[in-house]
Amino acid sequence: MFLAAFSPKDDREASPDAALVRRLLQNDVGAFEKLYDKYSRIVYSLVLRIVQQSGPAEEVVQDVFLQLWRNSAQYDAARGPFVPWLLTLARNRALDTLRLKSERQRRLENQTDELFSVVVAPQYEKELDEKRRAERVRALVGELNPQQKRAIELAYFQGLSHSEIAAELKEPLGTVKSWIRNGLIRLKEGLHTAS
């Protein structure tokens, strides 16, 4: 019921990325190579930022793209745009690797294991090339106060929870929650305004 609320959008299903992913179902190696060439850079950048070492980062990138190749049917264009889905997958894999490496058992569950989550781009979202998108996001997050930015980065790149960030920054839990939420709301508003 609740997932069905997101009806497929024709323009998304017809997006070039969705078309390439569909071709993977026919074992189209050329389509895979195009997707790799297009997105391996941002995926690797993200994963390297999380795991911090090039060797393990490349292993994660390999895993992410192999998963895309072997299980392309898991991506449903009707459930959201491709790139956020791919980035979510990459982040989760990288955080898994990070936790394994440091033997951290912080989660009772697979908090970030939302590989095939519904991702919905807001109405104002337009297709941007990766470079312009990166510039826009960096500029907006750069406007946040340093502590706010730090809290968001700890959550996103290190997978820390509110409580862990509060302990790390030695700040009250409520303050950390506000920083993160308000920071993301400002990012959202900024992206909206800039679009």
Binding site: S40, I42, L48, D63, V119, E125, I180
Partner: protein, 282 residues
């Protein structure tokens, strides 16, 4: 305050993975209840959070990675890997299940830190059972004492175990955590593989009363759809069980949640009780 209001400030943190367990469980239970408004807000928050990836300093992969990956992909494109139902061996003569077990352990180390110990135990136990079965098959064939029926049953059991291993260890499997609803009980974990099916595991699960059983339901996404009945099980004396659904009645893409109810022996065509465990497809 509506039920949704208490979750409004959690959407972004949930998408970020920053909620503490109690908050996360509460929000997930709410989402599992079918709140379209909150589900849409969470989906949009996921998009927003995904944009943070662009904060990472730009870096480039090595050409070797692309070469290695393309080689693997081309190789796989040429040959698919069907699930065998017989006893097969690798070119080196190592039984397939054993080589698969070794590979699976490596995969476990990489991908399943969250549950590596338990999965390793399950994998080892499954491989030991496979090995015992193979020895029994060899022994009975040698003695000429086993009927064809018994041999077939053993081979089917081995195929089932291989399939369970594949589902539990393939990184392509989707994990679904089923949280207990209004009862004090550990969560259950389901792994859903697009090709091989679902493995549902429970540990220290309270025993259903009398001869009643636990039944798995697949809740379709389509509005108005009825829950799809699936396997039933009674946990063992320690409250543990593992069930394999080789051919789920619905695809994961068309399913929004899994649920467990307590039903009369033999199961029901439609749920007769409220779910005791629910897990949303993420």
């Amino acid at each position: 305050m509506s039920n949704c209001d208490q979750f409004r400030e959690m959407y972004e943190a949930y998408a970020l993975g920053a909620l503490d367990p109690a908050e996360r469980t509460a929000l997930e239970a709410h989402l599992a209840s079918g709140c379209a408004k909150c589900a849409k807000a969470v989906a949009e928050a996921r998009w927003l959070v995904s944009q943070l990836a662009y904060l990472a300093p730009e870096a480039s992969t090595s050409d070797m990675l692309k070469g290695r990956l393309m080689q693997m992909v081309r190789s796989e494109a040429k040959s698919s890997l069907p699930v065998s139902t017989g006893i097969t061996t690798t070119p080196s003569g190592i039984p397939y299940w054993l080589s698969a077990g070794i590979a699976a352990l490596l995969l476990l180390t990489l991908y399943f830190a969250w549950d590596a110990h338990r999965l390793k135990q399950e994998l080892r136990a499954a491989n030991e059972r496979n090995q015992r079965n193979e020895q029994m098959i060899a022994s009975t064939q040698h003695q000429g004492a086993a009927s064809q029926q018994e041999l077939t049953a053993m081979q089917e059991q081995m195929a089932k175990m291989r399939r369970e291993n594949a589902i539990l260890t393939d990184p392509a499997s989707v994990k679904i955590t089923l949280a207990a609803q209004k009862i004090q009980a550990p969560q259950m974990v389901a792994m859903w593989h697009a090709k091989y099916g679902i493995v549902l595991t429970g540990q220290k699960v309270p025993m259903p009363s009398g001869d009643r059983v636990l039944q798995l339901w697949l809740i379709p996404k389509a509005p108005g759809s009825k829950p799809m009945p699936s396997m039933t099980v009674r946990p063992d004396s320690n409250g543990n069980f593992v069930i394999l659904v080789s051919n789920p009645p619905e695809t994961s893409g068309n399913t929004k949640a899994l649920a467990i109810t307590e039903e009369p022996a033999g199961g029901s065509a439609a749920p007769t009780t409220t779910p005791k465990w629910v897990g949303a497809m993420s």
